[in-house]
């Protein structure tokens, strides 16, 4: 589409956008006023009913658990789509770049960078696990912690090189994480059906409020989501990295 056609299309759509945006903004509640009675009820009920302290986690993984199931599958299908899009195409091949000057070796990263990478990546792994496992107690949970865990791999790449980071993240293992995480959610949902309640019912023992193991299925779901998100984001990073590092056009 040419630039002119694009602008013309937008000009035609702009009045509709203006009307919709204006009507939508006019109908909003006043800022900082009352919140809905649904939210008030959940804030009061959730800590007593589900033995958690972070109500956001209880909503994501319990009261609206089905939403999060679909959200997780959106992420899974996006990762699958990217893996398909960024695969080596018929005229491409996977190989490490040829060393044109074998007599001059690439200097390894300086000890300071290496030390920082070791320190940062281990701290990121620790923070990620902490964020995932404390999802029912403090802000955080599977999605946030999973992203932190995956970012530990990026730091390993910054501090070392492509070959080392590939050893840290074998593709079949990452794909297994992604799939196991996604279907773990369904499995925990089915536990509810097995126990004679509804799908995704909180049927596991609730524990004592404020303890690490409390909230029934909420920490379990956080765990599987964390595994899925960590695997998914690590796949994303390695797919984009492969594009620049090893996937090149086959020579004719």
């Amino acid at each position: 589409m040419s630039r002119r056609a694009r602008l013309a299309l937008f000009a035609a759509a702009a009045p509709a956008l203006a009307v919709t945006l204006g009507a939508g903004l006019a109908g909003l509640p006043s800022f900082g006023g009352q919140i809905t009675s649904y939210a008030r009820m959940l804030s009061e009920l959730a800590p007593r009913q589900r033995h958690i302290t972070d109500v956001v986690s209880a909503i994501s993984f319990d009261y609206r658990g089905i939403d999060t199931l679909f959200e997780e599958f959106i992420l899974l299908s996006a990762v699958a789509g990217i893996s398909v899009l960024l695969r080596p195409l018929s005229d491409e091949t996977r190989q490490l770049p040829e060393d044109k000057a074998p007599d001059r070796t690439i200097p390894p990263p300086s000890p300071a960078v290496w030390l920082l990478a070791v320190f940062l990546s281990s701290m990121l792994v620790l923070t990620g696990i902490e964020t995932i496992t404390h999802g029912q107690l403090t802000p955080g949970g599977g999605f946030q912690g999973g992203v932190i865990l995956a970012s530990a791999l990026y730091v390993v790449y910054l501090g070392t090189n492509y070959v080392t980071v590939e050893r840290f993240q074998p593709a079949p293992l990452l794909e297994a994480y992604d799939g196991v995480g996604a279907f773990g959610y369904v499995f925990i949902g089915l536990l509810g059906l097995l126990a004679g309640a509804g799908f995704l019912s909180n049927v596991v023992g609730l524990g004592v409020t404020g303890n690490l193991i409390s909230g029934g299925t909420i920490p379990l779901l956080n765990l599987v989501v964390g595994v899925e998100v960590a695997g998914g984001f690590a796949i994303l990073a390695s797919e984009f990295l492969d594009q620049t590092a090893v996937i090149r056009t086959r020579r004719r």
């Binding site: 589409m1 040419s2 630039r3 694009r6 602008l7 937008f10 956008l17 945006l21 903004l25 909003l28 509640p29 006043s30 800022f31 900082g32 006023g33 009352q34 919140i35 809905t36 649904y38 939210a39 959940l42 804030s43 959730a46 800590p47 302290t53 972070d54 109500v55 956001v56 209880a58 909503i59 994501s60 609206r64 939403d67 999060t68 959200e71 959106i74 992420l75 996006a78 990762v79 789509g81 990217i82 899009l85 960024l86 195409l89 107690l137 403090t138 802000p139 999605f143 404020g210 994303l236 797919e239 984009f240 594009q243």
Partner: protein, 115 residues
């Protein structure tokens, strides 16, 4: 106060849409889309805000004065962030392939390379 708060949302959204409409680079276009999408995150959080409200985390530490903000909106904002990240990553993957096939990232130049 309401005007300012929701004005930020409308401004961010329109800036993002302006960027998408006038973009000359597909990567720039994807970033503009994320800007427009981030307006929805702010909108969700603003709808759930209560003056003087605290985070909906009820730990026994120093007692929180006042009411909690809306936890439902925060959960929806989380969904929004995740879906936004997935969409951005998918579009960037498409941009990588477009650049390989067409040799350009300019959306206006794409039709000339069609064969």
């Amino acid at each position: 106060m309401s005007v300012l708060a929701y004005g930020v949302v409308a401004w961010l959204f329109l800036v993002g849409v302006y960027g998408v409409v006038t973009s000359r680079n597909l990567i720039h276009l994807v970033v503009c889309l994320s800007v427009a999408q981030s307006a929805t995150d702010i909108l969700l959080l603003e709808i759930g805000y209560r003056t003087g409200g605290h985070a909906p985390v009820f730990v026994g530490l120093p007692a929180h004065p006042g009411p909690a903000v809306d936890p439902v909106m925060q959960a929806l904002a989380l969904t929004d962030v995740v879906v936004g990240a997935a969409v951005t990553a998918l579009l960037l993957a498409l941009a990588v392939q477009v650049h390989k096939r067409a040799g350009t990232l300019d959306p206006d130049a794409l039709q000339a390379t069609r064969d």
